[in-house]
């Protein structure tokens, strides 16, 4: 999706607001949203669907609202789409919801959530029968066009020549995972020279690395 979220290389966003403060949360509501997102996620969804739902936020809200606020909006959208609540329920705590009669989930202690964080080290890779199409050192070219759905090939790296740096194994393919379909496909670290990506980087020694799935790539010599 050529959405507002695809920010790599876009211009006009000004200097970085460097903030030496390392406090994780600056407002109580940020901490609540963080904790909410760790405590529950809409049953049955995938991380890629959640990301896509965040990408679908209207551009003025995506850019104009604080970061954790966009998490809350995304959570609302995923729960509403899946039927757990309606837009009209918001701000009406008396609205009787589906699932309201079920026992609430147990209260976890600090030790239990630390355990859970450890067990949340989810892997996204799997063994597949196919052999990788590309080998380390091979020159590849990325797809020229995106599509309307979720993808992890950013606009700035489309139709560009790069070099396979590593094969990371077969990972869940996000473009389909965002539609609830789980297939695994080889995912490669691909190196691009800065001057392949940016006109003003002519002569630069700098490099940009992206992790890209096999179907985003073709052999550059074909």
């Amino acid at each position: 999706m050529d959405g507002i979220h695809d920010l790599g290389g876009k211009q006009g966003y000004g200097p970085v607001e460097v903030d030496a403060d390392e406090t994780p949360f600056h407002h109580d509501w940020e901490a609540r949203e963080w904790g909410l997102a760790q405590s529950a996620r809409t049953p049955g969804i995938t991380i890629d669907w959640w990301r896509h739902c965040r990408e679908l936020i209207a551009p003025e809200d995506y850019l104009g609202r604080p970061y954790f606020d966009s998490w809350a909006q995304t959570d609302f959208a995923t729960y509403i789409e899946a039927g757990w609540m309606t837009v009209e329920d918001i701000g009406r705590p008396d609205a009787v919801g589906v699932g309201a009669e079920d026992d609430p989930p147990p209260a976890l202690t600090l030790q239990q959530v630390l355990q859970e964080d450890h067990s949340h080290a989810c892997r996204f890779d799997a063994e597949i029968d196919a052999e990788p199409l590309f080998v380390v050192g091979q020159q590849v070219i990325t797809a020229s066009h995106g599509h309307a759905g979720h993808t992890r090939l950013p606009q700035y790296a489309r139709g560009r020549r790069g070099t396979i740096q590593a094969c990371n194994g077969a990972h869940v393919f996000p473009d389909l995972s965002a539609r609830g379909i789980e297939i695994h496909q080889y995912c490669y670290s691909v190196m691009f020279t800065a001057d392949e990506l940016w006109a003003e980087a002519s002569g630069s020694r700098d490099k940009v690395f992206l992790d890209l799935w096999e179907s985003y790539l073709s052999d550059d010599n074909e």
């Binding site: 979220h5 920010l7 790599g8 876009k10 966003y13 000004g14 200097p15 970085v16 460097v18 903030d19 390392e22 609540r32 949203e33 963080w34 904790g35 909410l36 405590s39 529950a40 049953p43 049955g44 679908l56 809200d61 609202r65 970061y67 606020d69 995923t78 509403i80 789409e81 899946a82 039927g83 757990w84 609540m85 918001i90 701000g91 705590p93 919801g97 589906v98 699932g99 079920d102 609430p104 989930p105 147990p106 239990q112 959530v113 964080d117 080290a121 996204f124 992890r152 950013p154 990371n168 869940v172 996000p174 539609r179 995912c187 990506l197 700098d206 490099k207 690395f209 992790d211 890209l212």
Partner: protein, 212 residues
């Protein structure tokens, strides 16, 4: 009740939410928490525990410990560069978003910088909650295109003969920069070394650490 993965419907929902949600962030999050508690999906005490975990227990001190150990122990560093998830798990730090961690090493010739241009991917279980600038449009848009300019805004000047490698976290792989040990610090204890490692040096927006 399950998602139909209907993007068109979600775009419509966002439009409704735009006009329907309370005006302040705090009220929006409160409304969400209230509904999720009501629906039996969340226990508020569990939220408290997660906040406590990522305020007091899980944060950049973990990453700093990993870096300090790699500086002290060449064998550990080797394992860290080869199989970072296993190496951080030796310290019990494997967790959220680090199952596919990769460690990239700074040298005299190379400086590494990490970004997520498409969202805000970050190795939570070793660095905690990402800083605000990491999630902001200015950093996400410019880190891949003008890394040296971005670094200058952090007070970091990179000599022309050093190669800058920018890692855009487009997959579930996450990156931790292994900064260089400050000159003269080689003989310090692991605890003392840990104090020298800044959070930003592990993202790549800091480079020349100093022995304090």
């Amino acid at each position: 009740m399950s998602s139909k993965f209907d993007a068109g419907k979600v775009a419509e929902i966002h439009q409704h939410l735009h006009s329907h949600l309370p005006s302040e962030s705090a009220l929006r999050v409160k409304a969400l928490e209230t509904l999720l508690v009501d629906r039996g999906l969340v226990n508020p005490q569990t939220i408290d525990a997660w906040v406590e975990a990522y305020t007091d227990q899980i944060g950049p001190k973990r990453g700093a410990r990993v870096v300090a150990r790699a500086w002290m122990d060449a064998e550990y560093k080797k394992r860290l560069l080869q199989d970072a998830p296993a190496a951080i798990d030796e310290l019990g730090y494997l967790g959220k978003a680090t199952a596919h961690l990769k460690v990239v090493e700074n040298t005299d010739q190379v400086h590494n910088l990490v970004v997520c241009t498409l969202c805000s991917c970050y190795p939570f279980s070793i660095l905690g909650v990402a800083p605000a600038w990491y999630k902001a449009a200015a950093y996400r848009s410019r880190a891949v295109r003008d890394p040296r300019g971005v670094l200058a805004e952090f007070g970091v000047t990179i000599d022309d003969d050093i190669e800058v490698r920018v890692w855009d976290s487009t997959a579930e792989l996450r990156y931790l920069v292994l900064p260089q040990c400050p000159p003269g610090a080689e003989d310090l204890s692991e605890d003392a070394l840990t104090e020298l490692v800044s959070r930003n040096s592990m993202i790549g927006t800091d480079r020349n650490l100093v022995k304090s």
